[in-house]
Subunit: 619 residues, 2 copies
Amino acid sequence: MANLLVDERDVQFVLYEQLKVEDLCQIAKFGEFSPEVFDMVLDAARKLAENELWPANADGDKIGVHLKDGQVRVPESFHRIQRLYCEGGWPSLSIDQESGGQGVPAVIGCAATECMIAANLGFMGYPGLTIGAARVLEKFGNPEQQSTYMEKLVSGEWCGTMCLTEPQAGSDVGALRTKARLNPDGTYSITGSKIFITGGDQDLTENIIHLVLARVEGAAAGTKGISIFIVPKKRIENGRLVDNDVTTVAVESKLGLHASATCALNFGERDNCVGYLIGPENSGMSIMFHMMNEARLLVGLQGLALASAAYMHSVRYANERLQGPHFSAIRDPDSPKVPILEHPDVRRMLMWMKSVTEGMRSLLYYVAKCVDLAECSTDRNDAAKYRGIVDLLIPICKAWSTDIGFRVTELAVQIHGGYGYCNEYPVEQFLRDVKITSIYEGTNGIQALDLVGRKLRMNQGALFQTFIGEVSKLVARVNENPRLKPIAARVDEAKSHLIEATVYFAQKAMSGEHAVPVLYATPYLELFGDLTIGFMLLWQAEIADEKLQAMYANAGAGTPEKQKELAESDREAAFYLGKIASAEFFSQSVLSLAQGKAKAIMQSGTGFLELPKEAFLRI
Amino acid sequence: MANLLVDERDVQFVLYEQLKVEDLCQIAKFGEFSPEVFDMVLDAARKLAENELWPANADGDKIGVHLKDGQVRVPESFHRIQRLYCEGGWPSLSIDQESGGQGVPAVIGCAATECMIAANLGFMGYPGLTIGAARVLEKFGNPEQQSTYMEKLVSGEWCGTMCLTEPQAGSDVGALRTKARLNPDGTYSITGSKIFITGGDQDLTENIIHLVLARVEGAAAGTKGISIFIVPKKRIENGRLVDNDVTTVAVESKLGLHASATCALNFGERDNCVGYLIGPENSGMSIMFHMMNEARLLVGLQGLALASAAYMHSVRYANERLQGPHFSAIRDPDSPKVPILEHPDVRRMLMWMKSVTEGMRSLLYYVAKCVDLAECSTDRNDAAKYRGIVDLLIPICKAWSTDIGFRVTELAVQIHGGYGYCNEYPVEQFLRDVKITSIYEGTNGIQALDLVGRKLRMNQGALFQTFIGEVSKLVARVNENPRLKPIAARVDEAKSHLIEATVYFAQKAMSGEHAVPVLYATPYLELFGDLTIGFMLLWQAEIADEKLQAMYANAGAGTPEKQKELAESDREAAFYLGKIASAEFFSQSVLSLAQGKAKAIMQSGTGFLELPKEAFLRI
């Protein structure tokens, strides 16, 4: 099978030509790695994705998960891929070596994970949350907890979950009611109900380690009184696993992700559910906050991965599907049919899908590399700078990538026409699967509030200033290149409009009109994301143009005709031309709206917040 | 059950306060109707929709259709609703009285159909296509054909279909291969395969009348050589129904519309399929073109109807779902939970959903009323004017309403959060069901080409001029109203930008650069739709403001405080305030982008049409 999941050439471009990840090997922590090792990892991930995860993807969708006799059962084919996934050492890929992991840089983990998610998002939820749980224990667990659980999680022998949501408390985590009562032996008795728990139960592993947010008796209301507990499905007593009074009440029947068990769990139905406190009491939210960046980056990656698979499938389809004559011969019934890739409307859609997919890949890998640098830089200022970039851009990574990722899958259905609406083709599954990513791990509305309410304010706006500085530097550099100057100008203009909107928000906040930034946080995040993607694509165009000019020079291709000839015969030249085209198209078709988007934010009032509810519906 | 399908108050507003449909009763053709009769029709439609169609909707989705022993079976509950639908006389609602129908104006048919579609799109596909087939026979069938089929179709005893698409010929209808061979008795033998035939088989009716596009042996290639035939599933021989060699090969398994049988049909597998020519040979396409406006309006209505149901469900949910404190008390864990309708981000989404849903309803009813006037006006100029409005706006009705309708269902899922992703709530079904509407009956890309390639050119651009004239007239009028002037100004500005883009396309076409309008037809249609909806909402705001001012005057509410009090205690005042808010919000948040959208069209090149395909994917 041709790889229709992730564009390998583009992955190589982002990693090595744009981000120069080989430089990470100079850092002590990554000293034993080399580009060759990175490529081996990526190659192995790709093979697992293509040969094993992808073939089980449709299976997972059609068969789904089932709850029977209190036990969730996953599709048969998932047992095989779980085994292969563990055998390949994938659960421990980006866990530190001192914790038993392989410790590859986050950016490489990101690239490896992208193609595995593109192949099978339903499956990847199980290990995805396991890594999250392992990380919590790695950073906040006590030595006993680490020795009890880490090895099993890191090997994939056991899975982990994150149990936050309760029926009455969705986005409002502080409203949770699950209780923890201190036992004389220092453990806690947990009672309560959680919903929407990904991988809350399954029959892939003999045990599941739930990390559960709960309130210790007598603790404060709201988020301040929340603690976090290890609650194993089966606890260890005298070296044996015994049931820990965790009951799977239901699995949700969902739009997509049928293979991922979304569970409602009851803890302590028989008052025999034991939990083990992680860190001090009441530190549950701050521990979760530490994990948040990574978790949200991962969800952004899910948006990218499904966009990537949707785009790749669409290009293949558009190249193979013959229909109608070329538009220049539309009135001639005898003119030959052409692939729909030649039809302008289809090509325009593909061009948009290409540019945003490449832009998201660049953004997510870039932020992942900043995660690496923030953790490893010995220079404190450098570390702070990278941490700031991560903090600022995480809501964009999560929300923009999942909103736009959905949009890409929508267009993939459109390009496939009637066939796209049928299960026979995989694109409608992409659309259904990816939709959840705008909802879980903090809805995209929550991401926007995080951006506007927290991130813009951090260090008196310094994060934003730093980011704008990076954009300005790039624009100044590219402005010297007459071929790319128009693109740079559009990025620069979008930057000014984002600044305008940001200043406007700051003024409103200072004058106490908090409703304004709260009300327009989502359109603001969209505008911010547009600029960020424009910035990424301009950066890529700069590199591509340099490579292309060198190729032209090498080939003695001085005239446009000769250059066109080269591009048509040389795949590398075509790739670089495509890169520049992505930046150009995105700047023209998306960044041109920046002024209007800023205007819409700044001129729109808050009047409709005052409308009586009867204005919406005679309820 | 509260009506969560269509906002009845808004329907009344559009019909009577905005469009003054009572005036239609002055026309001879509609002389026996009155507003009371219209309301009886709407009331009956609503009752059928709420009490019968809606309860079967989830059923249809879960059970779906199945092909067994060559026969498609629909869910059991559909037999009941089919019977009730026929008993209520709904199949013949807008069929002329001389053809055995009830002859209600198209605009009333539109309003009645909206709520039935909102209740059950899967079911409504069967009668929808039946009406289409009946109309073809009504207009183009010979008397014998009419007497054989019309009564059965109009009573709903038999269903009809439209068989256009073939595997190799989707949007390119001219490529079809189904053959017709003239028999000595004047009938034709039909052989060929069709796919994606809605209602291609079912067990609701004893017979199905397929209208089949086919090429008579020796006819020209392309669309010119296409004829249209009646091909009954069972033909009448000596007063008995006998099999007519139409085989159902498959039913598609689809993203949504599970209750609607999308069939692959083979005609003449045993060389015993008889077809009856409608009209002269080779007139198939022109006959189909006559039906196109109505069919596309109906699909636009499907986009509106599912948007409406999605919006109504979302408002109810947002009003009932308590979560988190009011944003002004965000830091106080003890502050009471508020309905998420109070959360600014949710309200902003609802406001957008409300404004576009109301705008679409206004547009579609308006165009339907123009259909009535075009058919009934005794003044030839008037008739031509209305026909021109219909022709121009039909692609907008179809494409804008289905694209935006999908977007509304997407936000409905978002507002429902995790619950929206689960089957337990109906919104995810709306999203899946409505997606097909951007694809069938001419993809939205085809609609855009129809707008740019045909409609803008008709009568040397006179249609466009007329439409712009209507917008200008409204703007001039509303400009006199200081309260609404800012909204009118934004509509006027959007109008200028649409004109700019239109002139730009005309110039490009004149200079032979046809690629430009072809490439940017879809973004152009979006901009055109934005202005059209802005126009509709401004028109509604004008009326609402007048009513509101009268209410204030009656109540002696001279101050803003008193006016606010009135709006909070009087549902009518709240409704009108909501109307003005819709126009204001849409003009601010959508029309503000018009300049950028026009710029994106005009500054974007055609360069990427020349990219080698390897730039898209190393295929």
